[in-house]
Amino acid sequence: MSGTILALENVTVRFGGLAAVEAVSFHVEPQTVHGLIGPNGAGKTTAFNLISGLGHQSDGHIRFDGERIDDWPSWRRAQRGLGRTFQNIRMFGEMTALENVLAGMHAHVGGGLGAALLRLQSFRAAERAAILKAREILAFVGLADPSARAGNLPYGDQRRLEIARALASDPKLMLLDEPAAGMNPSETSGLIELLLRLKARGVTLLLVEHDMHFIMHLCDRITVLNFGRKIAEGTPLEVRSDPKVIEAYLGTKVAERLEAGARVR
């Protein structure tokens, strides 16, 4: 497990008496796409928040890139290479697309207060390099106009821009929270195509998604949560035929009928 980029070990979070996530363990291998699925209320977004430092677990440990990050605030995790997007897009709407991506480079672009005030040669060179790189990233995700105001972009483009912004921080692991939510079928297939290109680039992805076609198409491994507990894990094929998963999604009766049907066949 030395190559593991992210490992959750018996992670539990309780809100009052309710355990939103209970004793969940799983790990993500580098350069893979890992899916986190489950019915509504299964604890997927809560797990994402624990991993990205927007909430803290009551019990258990999280390791990222070999280090225990339990007490780290979100910006420290981000500085060490954890990027994420949000279920409800969190765009810097007043800024241009280019500035959004540049903001994503915050942890890498040089230039302290002194350098910015004195406008040193090195400061301007670093800014120029950052702008060129930001343009490349925008082109990579398929956004044509770097000077467009982010808040004015259509929904699908805002999703792309949010991915571009997270990508700009050059993350070792990128968390995508329901990237296809609210997209029409053509936008979704465009997104799948983009994420496949990300995967080909070697970016490690952990994604929460409801669109099963999307998940089955992209993921190397899938972890299934239900009522805060892990109920299954494996390749898309294994997970799809797991009776516990079918039961969680479709209910006991349907699961029994499907199983009966399988036996008859």
């Binding site: 990205s52 430092g53 927007l54 605030p73 979100s74 910006w75 420290r76 981000a78 500085q79 990027g83 994420r84 949000f86 969190r90 765009m91 810097f92 709407g93 007043e94 800024m95 280019l98 500035e99 540049l102 903001a103 994503g104 480079m105 915050h106 942890a107 672009v109 040089g110 230039g111 302290g112 207060l113 350098a115 910015a116 005030l117 406008r119 400061f123 301007r124 060179a125 800014e127 120029r128 702008i131 060129l132 343009r135 912004r165 997270a166 921080s169």
Partner: protein, 282 residues
């Protein structure tokens, strides 16, 4: 200098001083608003600067540059003390704590022998002038423009728009919050020192809650899309009472009305222009 200009500067001297001093105060408000925080302690920081500087000049006879440095250092220290516990939290805690700071200081000034009690301090020599006041304002404006067009400016705007998302990009939120508050306190303290050294007289009531709200309205009226917005707000709000003088008793009513209309119909302020955030052309 032509004679008419000389006359003009002489007759309107205190008004022109106010423009420069209020400009510094508006910028001190801008730094905090620019990262999405709200402070109502600008008047208190200004008062700390004014009293620190006046006491150093009157009682110690310190040279003016030292006086100015101290007038920035003391409010900066107060900002650190009040910022450390409140800035770890997001939301209105800073606003509440700074209102508290203002009241505590005002009462301390009123009740202390050293600060002359409710009568304040008088006989402060007029050591500040056009050059240093407007020079400081110009330097502060240039510094803000340069910082805006850098990664620091981008992080600040990102924080104002969405703090959670900014944090997820690696922006060290507490550090930015405390730095903004300290810079803000230093600017307000400097403005306070200028105020004390042009008006020759200061009293606790100059730095109360009214003043804090006036400083906030400079920035709200002008807009915070760029550092120039708050300065535009200052020009309007400082000159308006003079322009409206013929209205006599109705002056303040119209003053208030104009602010309300501007805020309602121009949510981005009188100067909605937004400063770019890139540090080079490429």
């Amino acid at each position: 200098m032509p004679a008419f200009l000389d006359d003009f500067l002489f007759s309107y001297q205190s008004l022109i001083y106010s423009l420069g001093i209020n400009g510094l105060l508006a910028l001190s408000m801008y730094v905090v608003l620019a990262i999405g925080q709200l402070s109502l302690g600008q008047a208190a920081f200004m008062g700390l600067g004014a009293y620190t500087s006046a006491l150093l000049t009157l009682k110690v006879g310190a040279p003016f540059p030292i006086v100015l440095l101290a007038a920035m250092a003391v409010p900066a220290l107060a900002a650190l003390i009040i910022g450390a516990p409140t800035l770890r939290l997001s939301g209105v805690y800073l606003a509440l704590a700074t209102i508290g700071l203002g009241e505590v200081l005002r009462i301390a000034f009123v009740n202390s022998e050293l600060t002359g009690g409710a009568l304040g301090l008088s006989g402060i020599p007029e050591k500040a002038g056009y050059t240093i006041i407007f020079g400081s304002l110009a330097l502060a404006l240039i510094a803000f423009v340069l910082v805006s067009r850098s990664r620091i400016g981008r992080a600040m705007e990102a924080m104002r728009e969405d703090e959670v998302a900014a944090g997820m990009l690696g922006v060290d939120l507490p550090r930015y919050r405390i730095s903004a508050l300290v810079v803000s306190a230093m600017l307000a303290g400097l403005a306070g020192a200028f105020n004390a050294h042009v008006s020759s007289f200061i009293s606790p009531n100059d730095y109360g809650f009214d003043a804090a709200v006036t400083i906030l309205s400079f920035a709200l009226l002008g807009g915070i899309g760029s550092p120039f917005g708050p300065v535009v707000g200052v020009v309007i709000l400082t000159l308006l009472p003079e322009v409206l003088r013929p209205l006599h008793d109705f002056r303040l009513v119209f003053n208030g009305l104009i602010i309300v209309i501007a805020v309602l119909f121009m949510p981005h302020g009188l100067l909605p222009w937004r400063i770019g955030r890139t540090g080079a052309r490429a």
